[in-house]
Symmetry: C2
Subunit: 351 residues, 2 copies
DNA sequence: CTGAAAGCGCTTACAG
DNA sequence: CTGAAAGCGCTTACAG
């Protein structure tokens, strides 16, 4: 076989099979298979000749056939009900990132909030013999509209309520809130308010509790968190309450920790409109680190980042090890958040 | 077989095979297969008995095996370089929506802008014998970092530069721009400005040209479009230029058509800060209809929606028909936009 | 009307 | 060192 022969174009309309490679190399299919997989015993020369033939023919093994034999499809399903959301996206990127390196592809399924659609997708994935499933959502305190509790493949939950006995990954919201409040303290702020979303969200309470804890640990006054919507409008309304003249200027906060970035943006806009300076008079911190919002506020917003991509990676790796037969401790694992400092809090007093 | 027997739980750890169904029903695998697929001739009674057995055993055919035979995997690949982006998301939802109804699952692959990663993903998909590939991006004038021009499966391009001879779907940006400008005209606005993104984007010119065309058709003055960034900051800067005192109040626009929603938000904020009323004094229209932005502006923003989900659906259906062997006219197909009216333009003069 | 056989593309004991 | 055989789970001509 001349060594300057060109490799066949991948574009061949019908894929070349092992049988053809074997024929071209003058060996049996079994030998060809072994040569390419590094299995069996044979002369280095034979092995290399077969490999070279395969290369020239542009041979690529049919994974469907391999999967059938191996009982492993190198495929996983990713279930979400947050297609449009900003949460599942970075998460998915992380999942896919972790899995691609291991040669596994991911089926993306959006199940909306439709149990019938969810059921359909899960069955389709099972029929296609996925090795496992990752379920992601937009809230840790809500289930996807599907029962994944008794499947014959492992399931990992990320950012959504896990079934009992299953493994779930979430961000450490309490830790994230601590990061924010402690940052304020470090900057010398002492009258710290908290404006957050609806009481119906578990994270609202988790974050509020951490806020209280930190202040109490420092023997500072805790003002009751203001709960409302996850919106800019509510952020503006909250400013009207917090900075009312009735309260007296000295009663005004010098820092506001917000439950998400949209609230924070509303807060910053309303403060500016009242002539209150950010960060000179008041520091503001958001949650989510949604760049498109955080970078557009004036000044740019310091915000807690939940490290969703990392969370996705962990979820992917956890699933992989379950698929590989490694037992995993069931229960919820919390991953740390990080604070992304921009310009809405100012510099430390002596800084 | 007692009719009140419970169907086996789907959770059986090892899936039941056709062979087991056949054995339980006392027929051959061939007959069982035909019974379940509605093929072959047999008594209705036999067929029903086999079906009932399959149901009771919780039989689900192994798609890997079926695919191997049928040479069709009912699987497609979706390639994107816009994981975090708001464009590919609705688009993906549409694609997936169109395909799920046909029993096809989609592999999602984010190739970033990395040719090596792109190559890897394409090969993985091909190895898994996808029936076809949909390539989506964030710009019609940019290629994905992969060569998809000579694959052995059909490819459809959505919202990204198609290869010559391939089929591509994009939004009709000129039409969308017309929608916006004509809406202003209908409301009696006559001094319409256009603020858009960088000149390096093809859509910037397409939309600007349509803006000019409409005004010329109505013999109205065309002011040169202001090009800058796709950002709120640029929207604010543009207002400073458009509404400078030097120009004289009577030279101020009474409408601003913006190249995207972020620019529009900057424009609205800046106008409010200058005490210019929206929509009383100036109407504003954005592009993209990115709800999170459009609904948060004060007042809420009227915006051109590119119907990306519909575009995704069309892409999915186009691919399906190509996979089915139907020839498709190559070239770019443009899908209409629609105007989503909120409150940033006011009501018609006599309205 | 039903079943035995061949085969999709590959891998893996098992012989020689 | 290499090959023939059996088999993954299914489908589809082809006999009977």
């Amino acid at each position: 076989m001349p060594s300057d022969a060109e490799p066949a174009p991948v574009s061949a309309k019908t894929p070349v099979t092992l049988r053809e490679v074997a024929a071209a190399a003058g060996v049996s299919v079994a030998t060809a298979s072994k040569a390419l997989n590094g299995q069996g015993r044979m002369t280095a020369e034979t092995r290399e000749r077969i490999r070279e033939t395969a290369r020239q023919l542009g041979f690529r093994p049919n994974h469907l056939a391999q999967s059938l034999l191996r009982k492993r499809s190198f495929t996983v399903g990713l279930l979400t009900n947050d297609t449009y959301g900003r949460f599942s996206l970075p998460l998915m990127a992380g999942v896919s990132d972790a899995l691609v390196d291991n040669g596994v592809s991911v089926f993306l399924c959006n199940v909306e909030d439709d149990p019938r659609l969810g059921q359909m997708h899960v069955e389709a994935m099972l029929d296609k013999r996925v090795d496992g499933i990752i379920a992601t959502g937009k809230r840790i305190d809500r289930h996807l509209p599907v029962d994944l509790s008794n499947l014959r493949v492992p399931v990992v939950y990320a950012f959504t309520q896990p079934d009992p006995g299953a493994v779930g990954l979430v961000s450490d919201d309490a830790g994230g809130a601590r990061l924010a409040v402690e940052h304020f303290l470090r900057l010398g702020r002492r009258r710290i308010a908290h404006v957050s979303g609806p009481a119906s969200f578990a994270v609202v309470h988790t974050r509020a509790q951490a806020y209280r804890d930190v202040l109490e640990e420092h023997s500072l006054p805790v003002s009751e968190p203001l709960l409302g919507q996850w919106s800019e409008g509510w952020g503006r309304d909250a400013v009207a309450k917090l900075f009312s003249n009735g309260r007296g200027r000295e009663g005004w906060p010098d820092a506001v920790f917000c439950g998400n970035d949209q609230i924070a943006r509303g807060v910053i806009d309303a403060l500016r409109e009242r002539g209150i300076g950010v960060p000179e008079d008041v520091g503001v911190i958001g949650f989510d680190n949604w760049e498109i919002v955080a970078e557009a506020t004036r000044p740019p917003l310091t915000s807690v980042d939940m490290n969703l991509a990392a969370l996705g990676r962990e979820a992917g790796l956890a699933l992989l090890s379950l698929v590989g037969g490694q037992p995993a401790a069931p229960g919820i694992r919390k991953l740390p958040c990080r604070l992304v400092v921009r310009q809405s809090c100012g510099r430390p007093p002596g800084g």
